[in-house]
């Protein structure tokens, strides 16, 4: 049997989703993959939780997965599993007095993180507000479709929103399969092989930062980024949830590159670094600018800080 499609090998072919549903209701209807002889389907089905695997088990999962991706995409992906760096907790700053709403960050992120072009998924949404509008609480109603000849538009300002990497993430709490969790460096990650697509996390996220693959993700082969992380930008499957990971495949290296959105921003509005390092630019922002976080009253405690530098 071939599973050379983009569907989650552990959910489509072998239907872990209905298996889990069964167990959840105490029915334990064992929907294991009878009728398939492909060993890797079995392997995918019985794959342990990422955090419970030892190094050898991770290695063999990566090997299997690299082969699956190579067959599917005709591209040699290198799947990293780099762990958190000791003494690091990532934080992000965004200077709203500089942002001009040009959306370079949106598409640099799409490219770096292999987001589906069709159906379209964007991890970053840029909102446009009229100056003076009461905005911090109504950002769901802000204009995200603005499209003038030039930005910034007179009398407006812009606020990009992406995963806020909460210290206290409501999305993690509601996940029935523990397919999403917070890592030691503060990055909230998703294991696409454990996600069953129930979308509880999307309902729980107050920032609209999680996105669902309604269809098979499609990306032109020449636009694929082959430098990927297991918990980040590796190609996704139909029916799984994804979101910003602070470019885990770049930032967890030593030395670690800045996230793609920081690197592209033409106005330099995006700041990134280690919250535990008093010399970092993010700490400078927090200590010297008046920073605020979105929906502070919900106690999600984001590690994403907005500020007006002037």
């Amino acid at each position: 049997m071939s599973k050379k499609n983009c569907n989650n090998p552990s959910s489509k072919s072998v239907d872990r989703r209905s298996f889990l549903k069964g167990t959840a209701f105490g029915l334990a209807s064992l929907a294991i993959p009878f009728g398939t002889s492909d060993a890797s389907v079995w392997e995918a089905f019985f794959q342990k939780h990422f955090r419970e695997m030892n190094d050898d088990e991770i290695k063999s999962v990566i090997k299997r997965m690299e082969k699956e991706y190579a067959d599917e995409y005709k591209t040699g992906f290198k799947i990293k599993t780099t762990g958190p760096l000791p003494g690091v907790k990532f934080g992000y700053g965004l200077d709203l007095s500089r942002c001009i709403g040009c959306r370079r960050c949106v598409y640099a992120c799409v490219k770096e993180n292999n987001q589906s072009r069709e159906p379209q998924i964007h991890w970053i949404t840029v909102l446009q507000f009229e100056k003076g509008e009461k905005w911090v609480n109504v950002f769901e109603e802000a204009d995200r479709y603005y499209n003038p000849q030039e930005v910034p538009e007179e009398g407006h300002f812009y606020m990009p929103v992406q995963c806020q990497q909460c210290e206290n993430p409501p999305c993690v709490k509601v996940c029935p399969t523990q397919a999403t969790w917070k890592e030691r460096d503060g990055i909230v990650v998703v294991d696409y092989n454990w996600c069953i697509g129930c979308r509880y996390c999307m309902a729980a996220c107050p920032y609209g930062a999680r996105h669902f693959n309604w269809g098979k993700p499609q990306i032109d082969k020449k636009e694929l980024n082959p430098d990927v992380h297991y918990l980040g930008n590796r190609p996704r499957y139909k029916g799984v949830v994804e979101k910003c990971t602070f470019c885990i495949q770049r930032t967890r290296e030593n030395p670690g590159r800045y996230p793609a959105c920081v690197e592209i921003c033409p106005v330099g509005a995006r700041k990134f670094g280690n919250l535990l390092d008093p010399e970092s630019e993010i700490r400078y922002c927090i200590e010297n600018k008046r920073v605020f976080r979105l929906k502070e009253d919900l106690n999600t405690s984001p590690k994403f800080y907005y500020f007006f530098a002037i």
Binding site: L85, V88, G93, D95, I100, G101, C102, R103, R104, V106, Y107, A108, V110, K111, R117, E118, P119, Q120, H122, T125, R144, Y145, Y146, N147, P148, Q149, E150, V151, P152, W214, G215, K216, Q218, I219, D220, E223, T251, N254, P255, G256, R257, Y258, V262, E263, I264, C265, P266, V267, G268, K271, F272, G273, N274, S280, E281, Y284, C285, N288, K289, A309
Partner: protein, 186 residues
């Protein structure tokens, strides 16, 4: 181990470290690298070195309508070319103190009047740094973003908005939309 032998070991270990440090600081001063590493200044093609024309020309310090560099219209503070340029050597800049600096460190020029911006710039908060968040970084000069002669930030054409949910037609198409990022050349 007692304290004495520990300090002896520290001494032995530190000698080569100090030597190395001395060597490396010598290397840094021997090189003409700037305090803040930056990409080349964003000159128009063919204009630099300025001495190509100016070497044989008398500097004219009078404020006037120029018959060359007509595209340069000063819309900054109420000043003139030699508030910044060096009449003695056009390939360099001159600070108010008389200090001569290279175009690769023009941030010092701007920093004379924009102290707060300059302070934020040095720590990577105004302007931008690329490279490694926990390693080597490259800055952008003020003039990479602000023309020194008309320093307001130039507006940009935004990349396309997201597709509205009602317009989204999921299809297994042969023509996957390409990333619009690759169509801009900046």
């Amino acid at each position: 181990m007692n304290l004495k032998s520990l300090s002896k070991i520290l001494l032995i270990v530190s000698i080569p470290v100090i030597l190395l440090l001395m060597l490396s600081s010598y290397a840094a001063s021997a090189d003409d690298t700037t305090d803040y590493p930056v990409p080349p200044p964003p000159f128009s093609e063919g204009i630099f070195p300025c001495s190509g024309c100016h070497a044989g020309m008398e500097a004219n310090t009078n404020r006037r309508e120029l018959s060359f560099h007509e595209d340069i219209k000063l819309k900054h503070f109420d000043g003139w070319c030699f508030n910044c340029h060096n009449p003695g050597d056009r390939d360099t800049l001159r600070l108010a103190s008389g200090k001569i600096i290279s175009f690769k460190e023009s941030e010092y020029l701007c920093g004379q009047c924009h102290g707060t911006m300059f302070r934020d710039w040095k720590v990577g908060v105004h302007g931008k740094r690329t490279g490694f968040w926990n390693g080597k970084k490259e800055y952008r000069l003020c003039v990479h973003c602000h023309s020194p002669h008309q320093p307001g930030f130039k507006p940009l054409k935004p990349l396309p908005p997201p597709i509205r949910p009602e317009d989204s037609k999921y299809k297994t198409s042969e023509t996957i939309p390409l990333n619009p990022l690759d169509s801009i050349k900046e």
